[in-house]
């Protein structure tokens, strides 16, 4: 099917708006946290100011610069490409789009893990090792959840999800994707890769100036992607149209961003060392419920 003008306009405007508002969503999160503290907080464009400032700083020579710059720009390109592909695949029927999205996210996550390893900094390597452990639990669950999504819905098109009938098993699956999204965003207690006070920002420690700016922006885009996927999966069967589903998801995105920020504040004092194990237990329970519900309501 060829793109008509409305879809093309919607795809372009959605992607452009998303890429612009993602740092603003981070600022809104900081503003909400400030409101909880009864303080004024930073301006609404503060994260944009931070990124712009980082690009104005002098670029320092870092160890292994060729590999670092290569993986960093690959990470940024993949973040933007994944979110672009997701929005396009929602609006335009694309063959096996769910599987292509899984592959894109796998490459994106692998690049994210490899990047700190090539900086050769001991703190970065500690952070990267922790991230590997977390990814082993979280990403595998993401793959299984997406595979079950295809199995339950019988669809490999993202754009066909609005036309399926939501079952209880499907809704539990969407809940699993919400948890996967929360963990992939690197919020407390799953920020063990950065672990700011403990290992001096871990994976970020060698990045400086414009390189840090690229990483911060790419990370925010990745966060937006991992929020959009579960929202779309949950909302789609209730809207009946992929266009409405996408617009509703984009409206819910800032609300979910703030909810995740609130949850992160609640989990601020939880134990980081047992986080992956607790996560595995939680996923096991939810998967068991999903499969039981599927067999019962089959």
């Amino acid at each position: 099917m060829s793109l008509d003008f409305i879809n093309a306009g919607l795809v372009l405007s959605s992607i452009t708006t998303l890429l612009f508002i993602v740092p603003i969503l981070d600022s809104i999160e900081r503003k909400v946290k400030a409101a909880i503290h009864s303080r004024i907080g930073p301006p609404i464009l503060q994260t944009w100011y931070d990124i712009r400032k980082l690009f104005a700083k002098k670029l320092s020579v870092i160890p292994n610069p060729f590999h670092v710059v290569f993986f960093l720009f690959l990470y940024m390109m993949l973040s933007i490409m994944s979110i672009t592909y997701f929005i396009t695949a929602v609006l335009v029927p694309m063959w096996n789009s769910i599987m292509v999205l899984i592959i894109l996210i796998t490459i994106l996550q692998t690049t994210f893990i490899v990047l700190p390893f090539v900086t050769s900094n001991p703190f970065a390597i500690i952070g990267a090792t922790r991230e590997v452990l977390l990814v082993l639990v979280n990403e595998i669950v993401f793959f299984i959840a997406m595979a079950l999504l295809i199995f339950f819905s019988g669809e490999t098109y993202l754009s066909s999800l609005p036309y399926i009938h939501p079952t209880p098993a499907y809704l539990i699956l969407a809940a699993i994707l919400f948890i996967v999204g929360y963990v992939s965003c690197g919020r407390q207690p799953f920020d063990i890769a950065e672990a700011e006070p403990e290992i001096a920002s871990g994976i970020l420690v060698e990045l400086t100036g414009p390189l840090l700016g690229v990483f911060v922006y790419a990370n925010l885009v990745r966060r937006a992607l991992f929020k959009l996927i579960p929202v779309y999966v949950l909302i789609a069967p209730f809207t009946g149209s992929n266009m409405y589903a996408l617009i509703t998801s984009l409206i819910i995105l800032p609300i979910l961003w703030v909810i995740y920020a609130g949850l992160a504040a609640l989990f601020g004092r939880s134990r980081v060392d047992i986080a992956p194990v607790s996560l595995l237990k939680l996923y096991s329970i939810l998967f068991s419920i999903t499969i039981i519900l599927y067999l019962v309501f089959k």
Partner: protein, 157 residues
């Protein structure tokens, strides 16, 4: 100074042998009560990410090599906020055997090594008040004016 830095000041806390009184006041200034974030200030844990160093203490000889390395790690434009009497001019340690005597002496060493600092802001006090630190950030942002002219005199031997 660059307009970009004025709107986003990431600070790194560098203790160079202080008695910790100024350090406690820095922590105080960064709490929600004083809300330094509204001025774009953010505490970072690596000098590579920082724009300004919150330097406390008279800079002992033991800490000097690490201080120089930390300042070198800050990408330019880089600024130093000399906090407390010790950092401003050595304080009661200004002429002792184990300290270099504050930021003015440090700047001479940095100049000899070819390390450039784009601006130094002095915040006197023993310890400094959190309001004084926020005032210094205001001067850095260009929204406030300097109150006094800083002048350090060496003790007469």
């Amino acid at each position: 100074m660059s307009e970009y830095i004025k709107k986003s000041i990431w600070v790194f806390h560098l203790n160079t042998g202080s008695c910790n009184a100024c350090d406690i006041e820095i922590l105080d200034a960064l709490t929600p009560y004083f809300d330094a974030e509204r001025l774009g200030v953010k505490l970072v844990v690596s000098p590579r990410h920082a724009d300004a160093l919150l330097l406390t203490g008279p800079i002992t000889y033991e800490s000097l090599p690490k201080v120089i390395r930390a300042i070198e790690a800050v990408p330019r434009p880089r600024f130093i906020l000399a906090l407390g009497s010790c950092a401003v001019g050595g304080g009661i340690w200004h002429d002792t055997y184990s300290t270099i005597g504050g930021v003015p002496e440090l700047l001479k060493i940095l100049k000899n090594r070819g390390i450039e600092v784009d601006g130094v802001y002095y915040v006197p006090g023993c310890p400094i008040r959190p309001e004084a630190l926020i005032y210094a950030v205001g001067i850095l942002k260009g929204i406030l004016q300097k109150k006094v002219k800083m002048r350090v005199r060496k003790a007469i031997a």
